[in-house]
Structures are given as C-alpha cells and as structure tokens.
C-alpha cells in the first residue's frame, strides 16, 4: 500500500507536484535503479516537480544517500540536499523515502521495492529540492530550554549522577534532531504551529528526568498546555519512523504521567 491518497490530493496550488524531467540512464552497465526525486527551485517561476533518475546500481554504494551523491556528481549537479556524516549520527539527511521518514544514509536501497520515491520531510516548507526550512523546529526546540537549569552557586566540581540516575536518560538522550518523527506526525501536520511535536517533547523529557536539573516544575508548567503537549494522540508514527530506534511516544506518555502524578 503506497498511500491513502493521490499525489496532489487537496494540495494548495503552489505546492502541487508536476511531472518533471526524465533523465536517461547514462554510462550504465549493471542493474538500473530508478529514483523519483522531488525538485523545487525557488528561483524558477514554476512549482515543485518530480524528476526521474536512472542510476547504475552496480557502480553505487548501497544507501539512498550514495545514490543522491552519485546523481549530484554524475547526472545533475543542481540536485540539492543536506548531508554530512553519512553514518546516521548527524541527522542532516532526513527525508521521506519510500513513504516513511528516514535518514538517507542509513536507508538501504535494497530494502525498497520498485522505484525509490524521495520527498522532503513530510509537511515541511521547502527551501530547495530536499532541503526544508528548519527554523520553526529549532525555535520549538529552544522553547523547552534544552540545557541544564540550576539554582544557586556553581559547584566546585562536576555534578555527580549515580549509574541508576544516568540510566534514566537512556533512550532519550540519543536524539540527533533529524526531525523524522516530527515530520511523520499527523498531529504536527495539522497543528504544528502550536504543538511541539515528538522530537522536541522527547528532548523535553530528557531534561525532565535529568537528576541534576532543578527546573522540573517550571518545565512541566511550560508543557501543561492543550496544544504544546496534549495534541499527541498516540498515533505512533514517531516511534515507527525514528531512525535511531528511540520512542518519542513513550517520552510523551511519561511527561503526561508526570503531570498527573504532581497533581496528587
């Protein structure tokens, strides 16, 4: 099952995706792999389009990012995307691949049947091609104050944590802020202006459970809001689409539980 809807169903005029250019396979000897990639050029006077590329899979690395780099180097140098570490730790190359959000550098092409469809992260404003405007995402991240908040004078040595206290952070501190989960959350699609989204809420929980942090109460006050936190309807797309195997839905459930617990 590909999707519930046709490609341009209910899409605003400026976001409709037209058929794009079909780039012929050049200099290919081995098996040919087809990629359909979302293109948008802000300097052109036209809207987005879907270009089709053919690459020689035998002369390409195994991941979708390898194919994107190969296309940029050998076929179409105007193709634009973010990437850096190419090994799943920087979180730059998150995009919608084969119908789910993932990092292009850890998504094997062999795990996708047929043509590989690549779009920018779902429901994000597009700057160019696969590059999305992340400003709102990082503004929301800043809102939860993702740093250690303490009162009183600075200690003379580091703030200590027991192994048990440290273990509380496991599964929550590893987020690389690729925003695959937030881009995959239908609640964020419809209420992203007021709902913080799974990535930011997972990070909020990471600071809530940190034994060294002294602003737990204020952090909870900031989250107790019909939109910021409670727009989560446990749809579970976030947990399924996390390329790091984290569970944002669980973090959100735990924040809700903390809010209930402090009422008693």
């Amino acid at each position: 099952m590909k999707s519930f809807l046709p490609l341009n169903w209910g899409v605003e005029a400026g976001s409709r995706i037209a058929r794009g250019r079909i780039w012929p396979a050049a200099n290919t000897k081995g098996a040919i792999r087809t990629l359909e990639i979302y293109r948008y050029d802000p300097d052109a006077h036209s809207g987005p389009r879907l270009d089709v590329y053919h690459i020689d899979q035998n002369d390409c690395g195994p991941m979708v990012l390898d194919a994107l780099i190969k296309i940029k180097n050998e076929i179409d140098p105007t193709l634009t995307f973010r990437r850096s570490c190419r090994e799943g730790v920087c979180g730059s190359c998150s995009m919608n691949i084969g119908g789910r959000n993932w990092l292009a550098c850890t998504q094997a092409m062999d795990d996708i049947d047929g043509p590989i469809r690549v779009f920018p992260l779902s429901h994000m404003r597009v700057v160019k091609d696969l590059v999305i405007d992340q400003s709102r995402l990082f503004d929301q991240h800043r809102l939860i104050q993702p740093w250690l908040r303490t009162e009183g004078p600075e200690p003379e040595r580091e703030r200590l944590q027991s192994p048990e206290e440290r273990a509380e952070l496991d599964g929550f501190y590893e987020c690389i802020l690729c925003f695959s989960c937030t881009g995959g959350c239908p609640s964020y699609w419809w209420n992203g202006d007021r709902y913080l989204g799974p990535a930011v809420l997972l990070n909020a929980y990471r600071w809530l459970v940190d034994s060294r942090d002294e602003a737990t109460g204020e952090r909870l006050d900031d989250l107790e809001d019909p939109f910021r936190l409670y727009r989560c309807h446990t749809i579970m797309n976030c947990t399924k689409t996390c390329p790091k195997g984290l569970e944002p839905a669980k973090a959100i459930a735990k924040i809700k539980a903390m809010l209930v617990a402090r009422q008693q």
């Binding site: 490609l7 597009v126 579970m236």
Partner: protein
C-alpha cells in the same frame, strides 16, 4: 547591506498523507476518530429508540420496525462494532499511556488485538442475539 528581495512565492509545502505509507497504528487512530463521530449519530438513534419506548406501544412498534429492517439492522450492527472498536481503542491508549507496549512488535500486536477483539465481540454479540431471537432462555 542590500535589502533582501521579497520572495515572489511562498515556500511550497512538502506532501504528507499523499506520500506517507499508511501504518496500522495511524489507520487505527483515524478509525478511532471515525467511530467516535459515528457514535454521535448512533446515540441520536438510541435516544430516538428510548423516546419511542416512552411514547407508547405504537411508537415503539414503529421504531422496532425501522431497526429490524434491512436498512436499520446493518446500521445497528455497525453501531455495535463502532462502540466496541472505540472502547477497545480507549483501552489501547490507556496501556500506551502507562508506557507499556511501545516497542516493536508489541505495539503492532496490541493494535491488531484491539481490532480483532472489536470484530470478534461484535460478531459474537450479534450471532448470539440472532440465534436466540433476542430471547435468551
């Protein structure tokens, strides 16, 4: 510094539901909403039936005819399923809110279990009801 030229067009929005591969949990979330809306209409029907019951034997007989007709009966069966699906969905959300069964494959098992439970319970209810003719001995 030169003033930046204002963008002629707003930035396009990347597709969401049009390209996102449906997941079972997402589909069940949509069904939870849909059955919730259907229950609004269903309870109006139930209120109508109660009102007819209060209004006397004639009104009750007429209402009974509507609900046992080939139009009314499927709606009634769908209503039963909608209640059960919504109720089991609520239990699933309760379990998830306790941070249980978030991990693969348990979240999928739980989702499937509530779907199957709603179908099985609705079927059992109606098979029993039609078998006994509504008069359990």
């Amino acid at each position: 510094m030169e003033k930046r030229e204002e963008r002629r067009h707003p930035r396009p929005l990347a597709p969401d539901l049009q390209t996102y591969r449906p997941t079972l949990t997402m589909t069940m979330s949509i069904m939870h909403r849909a059955t919730g809306i259907a229950l609004y209409a269903g309870f109006i029907g139930m209120a109508a039936w109660l009102a007819a019951l209060a209004a006397g034997p004639q009104a009750h007989a007429a209402m009974q005819q509507v609900f046992t007709s080939w139009v009314g009966l499927p709606i009634l069966i769908a209503f039963t399923w909608a209640i059960l699906h919504h109720a089991f969905g609520g239990v699933r959300h309760l379990i998830w809110d306790l941070s249980i069964a978030h991990t693969y494959p348990w979240r999928e098992y739980l989702t499937r279990a509530t779907l199957i439970a709603s179908l099985v319970c609705a079927s059992l209810f109606w098979i029993t009801l039609l078998w006994t003719g509504g008069h359990p001995s």
